[in-house]
């Protein structure tokens, strides 16, 4: 219906303006000292650029038929994962949905192995078995990469219980989309988190990556109560909002939130307002659900562009330095592509491995705690 669509569009750009307003009300403008030193900030800039260029390369790989299945890239949302994963400590566990390349890369996965996974190669991060939606890097705390919207949320809450039960000191960062909030899995898991958190048994940091659309359905068309953070009230979980396009704001918020979760063993939720500057996924070529204007407007708030301005303003870097970073990042992503392209397909024997641990493997009694 033309009307519906137009209504949709109108409310969307209003929301874009509101986001900008929220951004202005944010910590940084309010005059707090930056939490992260210039050097570190420049390093995070490098990471964001690497992620962006990796995603650009992935999109090219998809268009040229090198990558199959579904492909969901993170472009536009980099400040969220970059800011939150800056709080990653050894022993923490990270989990997200299918828009997961950035999370793997930021946690330290080799771009080559990630790209090879997208290419479905035997050298891929999960041996070519999972593809784009199922990246895992357990050694770096990354517990995946899930394709069923909402389905990973209970897993993350259970992991937090385990970390607290085993007194590891670790926390879980649980990333979820705005679209996942309306799913029953979210409700049941968040309620468990609140309940278990009362006894200090649920150090879960929920990070809502609110990019304002679940595929083509805006938050306004998904629920009559659009303040997603407030939905955590139902579970006794405290929450905060942050401008997800502003890395410094995210860093600040993430730090406070992570510390709080780590100390209390209780969950906490952050709604990061962000925007997907690219289509939802491979099949989303029409984008009938949003206007070109809206996308243009949000491009002004591209987190990488915003950070560049900050770095220049603060003399943390000059144009040349930034350019050098971009070029190095480009080279890294080219390398990853080349590696992926040249890697062999998985061996056909891999088809039937990893279904079970073994044919009928039953270890001895009381094999004890541990991963």
């Amino acid at each position: 219906m033309a009307t519906t669509e137009r209504q949709g569009r109108k409310s969307r750009s209003t929301s874009a303006r509101k986001a900008a307003d929220r951004a202005k009300a944010n910590g940084k403008e309010a005059g707090q000292p930056p939490r992260v030193k210039n050097d570190a900030l420049l390093d995070l800039y490098r990471k964001m650029v690497e992620v962006r260029l990796f995603e650009d390369a992935a999109q090219r790989g998809f268009r040229t038929g090198k990558i199959g299945g579904y492909l969901h890239v993170y472009s536009g949302q980099e400040a969220v994962a970059t800011g939150f994963l800056h709080e990653y400590r050894e022993g923490d566990r990270i989990i997200t949905a299918y828009r997961d390349h950035a999370h793997a890369l930021l946690l330290g996965s080799e771009p080559k192995a990630v790209m090879a996974e997208l290419y479905g190669k035997g050298t891929g991060l999960v041996k070519g078995k999972g593809g784009s939606m199922h990246l895992f890097d357990v050694a770096n705390g990354f517990m995946g990469g899930y394709g069923i919207v909402g389905g990973h949320i209970p897993l993350g809450v259970g992991m937090a219980y385990s970390l607290a039960y085993r007194k590891t000191g670790g926390i879980v960062q649980l990333f979820l989309g705005d679209g996942a909030i309306h799913n029953g899995a979210f409700h049941e898991a968040a309620n468990l988190a609140g309940l278990w958190g009362r006894d200090g048994l649920n150090p879960t940091l929920f990070v809502i990556e609110n990019n304002q659309y679940g595929m083509g359905t805006s938050v306004e068309r998904s629920t009559a109560m659009t303040d997603l953070g407030s939905k955590f009230d139902s579970y006794g979980i405290e929450h905060e909002k942050v401008d997800g396009m502003d890395l410094e704001a995210v860093l600040d918020c993430a730090h406070r939130a992570a510390e709080r979760v780590r100390e209390s063993g209780k969950p906490f939720a952050v709604e990061a307002l962000t925007y997907r500057l690219v289509p939802h996924g491979a099949a989303d070529f029409l984008e009938k659900y949003r206007t070109k204007e809206e996308i243009r407007e949000w491009r002004q708030r591209d987190p990488i562009g915003l950070l560049e301005r900050t770095l220049l303003e603060r003399d943390a870097a000059d144009e040349d330095a930034l350019k050098a970073i971009r070029e190095t990042a480009k080279a890294r992503s080219d390398e990853a592509v080349q590696f992926a392209d040249e890697s062999p397909d998985p061996d056909l024997t891999e088809l039937t491995t990893d279904v079970y641990a073994g044919e009928m493997h039953v270890p001895a009694a009381g094999s004890g705690i541990g991963e």
Binding site: G68, K129, G184
Partner: protein, 334 residues
């Protein structure tokens, strides 16, 4: 006759019935403004408005249940599962409510509901997005389960489904949306419970459904080059199931191979083999062979995925085992 794609035939059935019957409404994720992720419902929101083409949040259990409630109170909802892989979230509503309401209400309630969407794999969607759920849903009394393979059938069976007073699990062959075929204009139905002989033959019955039908037709052509005439049977309907056509075919050919994309254990092919040995025991010259998907979650990599699904070669090998097997009797081998 006009030629249409599977996708357009499907859409035509829904659009035409919506014109005729305002109790028909559609629900699903991104079926309206977005146009449908597989474009099956593209444009329908413009024609019928958002009250009849209802975009839902990502809440399969909730909106499937809501559709059941609508069906219980005078509407004829068609739910789109964006893909059937997400239907595990709605399994409780489908199995516990839709399938059983007529029974546990002592016949007071009907659930004229269609749940439709793409089923099956083949485009590297990997483990969570690749399932063939015919046997899974076919197990439950109270449901009807169909799996049309051609544009003609998908339209006629969708019209049957919408008009059916009972809940219908409508499993579309996702890989076939773009395939073309002749489709009558206007109103016609294809009944449930009737298999289709897609190719006649005398030497072996090749039984399948969905996208396997095309594979079987290709295999039959190859076999014909060697003088082997395969009879290809497209099951079309999983529940009710047309044992008669299958048994009649095996009575003629004395041999059968069943092919399916789904896993082997406790599956459609298990049932077909069980039925054939029950009803054509004496006419069977060799065991019924099953060619199924590999017993692994679907892998992503293209080469692994291809290896996970039934191939022409696997089917031909099975046919040859079945054909060249010396027919012996239990009396002689004991």
């Amino acid at each position: 006759m006009p030629v249409k794609t599977y996708r357009d035939a499907l859409k035509a059935a829904m659009a035409e019935e919506m014109q005729r019957d305002e109790s028909v409404v559609l629900l699903g994720e991104d079926i309206g403004v977005y146009g449908g992720t597989h474009l099956v419902t593209n444009g329908l929101i413009d024609e019928f408005g958002p009250k009849r083409v209802i975009d839902t949040p990502i809440a399969e259990n909730g909106f499937t249940g809501a559709a059941i409630g609508m069906a219980m109170t005078g509407l004829k909802p068609i739910v789109e599962m964006m893909t059937w892989n997400f239907s595990f979230l709605a399994a409780d509503q489908i199995i516990q409510n839709a399938a059983k309401l007529r029974y546990f209400s002592g016949g007071q309630v009907s659930v004229p509901l269609v749940i439709r969407g793409p089923n099956g794999g083949g485009v590297q969607l990997s483990a969570q997005h690749t399932h063939s759920l015919e046997g899974f849903y076919g197990h439950f009394p109270g449901l009807k389960v169909v799996s049309p393979a051609t544009p003609h059938d998908v339209k006629g069976m969708m019209l049957s489904a919408i008009r059916d007073p009972d809940p219908v699990i409508f499993l579309e062959a996702g890989a076939l949306y773009g395939t073309k075929g002749e489709v009558e204009d206007g109103d016609y139905t294809v009944p449930f419970g009737k298999a289709r002989v897609a190719r006649e033959g005398t030497d072996i019955s090749l039984i399948g459904y969905g996208r396997q039908v095309n594979l079987l037709l290709r295999v039959a052509d190859k076999l014909a080059e060697d003088g082997i005439e395969g009879e290809v049977i497209d099951l079309r309907s999983i529940r009710p199931f047309d044992s008669e056509t299958i048994v009649a075919s095996v009575r003629k050919t004395n041999r059968a191979v069943v092919v399916q994309e789904q896993w082997r254990w406790f599956s459609v092919a298990s049932e077909v083999a069980a039925i054939i040995q029950e009803q054509a025991f004496d006419e069977l010259d060799a065991p019924v062979e099953r060619v199924s998907g590999a017993e692994v979650p679907a892998p992503y990599a293209r080469n692994l995925e291809l290896a996970a699904f039934p191939s022409e070669q696997q089917i031909i090998d099975a046919v040859q085992r079945v054909l060249y097997r010396v027919a012996t009797t239990s009396a002689t081998t004991r």
